[in-house]
């Protein structure tokens, strides 16, 4: 999908690497910005909208990583299903336009320090580690191979997931049911 687009652009004279890099940094910047807005916005409903935008940007990252199927699944499940659930829950519970209510607790400074320390540790680890790379160009996994491995080698976890989903369905109905007193 994106690869053919990149190829077309490549044929039209733009160097491939610079276009892929440009789009990666653009999408990465958007992702970080939206993720920050999810955490920072006062209104919970705005957070939900920014979360949807973050998830869309992450699916763009998946496209750049040659995982087309995952990108589509991300859009269908996260943006299509989970976001609807979040929006309904927000509308069913909180008063969304109340400005007077504090949205953060008293641990903001502590949490910010902790998160920055974690980020610094991750950064140093990522920069210092000698990442294994096979050197040669790795063929991107085709959808056919992914489906075959999902239904042959990983068929047991796949079925266990369906069992988990059934349990979740039953549990959600049992917990969420209104009790008659």
């Amino acid at each position: 999908m994106l690869n053919s687009l990149i190829q077309q652009l490549n044929n039209s004279g733009l160097p491939l690497n610079s276009f892929a890099q440009l789009s990666f940094y653009f999408i990465a910047g958007l992702t970080c910005l939206f993720a920050f807005l999810v955490v920072a916005s006062r209104n919970v409903f705005h957070s939900a909208v920014f979360l949807a935008l973050t998830l869309l940007s992450v699916s763009g990252i998946y496209l750049l990583l040659d995982a087309q199927f995952l990108a589509v699944v991300q859009i269908i499940i996260y943006v299509g299903a989970i976001m609807i659930l979040f929006v309904f829950c927000i509308m069913l519970t909180s008063r969304i336009s109340d400005k007077a209510i504090r949205q953060v607790n008293q641990q903001v400074l502590f949490s910010l320090t902790l998160a920055l320390i974690f980020l610094a540790i991750f950064y140093i680890l990522i920069i210092k580690s000698p990442w294994l790379s096979s050197g040669a160009e790795i063929e991107p996994l085709s959808l056919k191979e992914l489906g075959r491995s999902l239904f042959s080698k990983y068929v047991l976890p796949f079925e266990v997931i369906s069992l988990v989903l059934l349990a979740v369905m039953v549990g959600a109905i049992a917990i969420g049911k209104a009790r008659k007193e």
């Binding site: 690497n17 990666f24 990465a28 992702t31 970080c32 993720a35 920050f36 955490v39 919970v44 957070s47 939900a48 979360l51 973050t54 998830l55 990252i61 750049l64 990583l65 995982a67 199927f69 995952l70 991300q74 499940i77 996260y78 989970i82 659930l85 979040f86 829950c89 069913l92 519970t93 209510i101 949205q103 953060v104 607790n105 502590f110 949490s111 998160a115 920055l116 974690f118 980020l119 991750f122 950064y123 990522i126 920069i127 990442w131 790379s133 790795i138 991107p140 996994l141 191979e145 992914l146 491995s149 999902l150 080698k153 976890p157 988990v164 979740v168 959600a172 917990i175 969420g176 209104a178």
Partner: protein, 102 residues
């Protein structure tokens, strides 16, 4: 070619933003959203390693697929609990919910 470390740094940034949100939000739904951010950061890591190390059967992508399904399941249970708590306690601010604290 975008180096592998840039993807990993992006996922570390998203993870830390999610961590900050999960620690500071008072709203239970906001905390669940931050947890979704952290799960997405982990997924980016899985897909990155799948692309750069190469696996003949696509283990990283399959695992990320399972994780998306499990994140959806966790989200459904969490939001149902939020609704149930709201019904009983009339609030979703977690510092007001001290039912199980001594």
């Amino acid at each position: 070619m975008i180096p592998q470390s840039h993807f990993l740094i992006l996922s570390a940034i998203i993870f830390c933003i999610g961590l900050f949100g999960a620690l500071t939000r008072r709203n239970a739904i906001g905390i669940l959203m931050s947890i979704e951010l952290m799960i997405n950061a982990a997924n980016i890591n899985l897909v990155t390693f799948n692309k750069f190390l190469g696996s003949p059967d696509g283990l990283g992508q399959v695992f990320a697929l399972f994780e998306i399904a499990l994140a959806a399941a966790a989200c459904v249970v969490g939001l149902t609990l939020v609704i149930s708590i709201y019904r009983n306690a009339k609030t979703i601010f977690i510092d007001k919910i001290n039912l199980m604290k001594w």
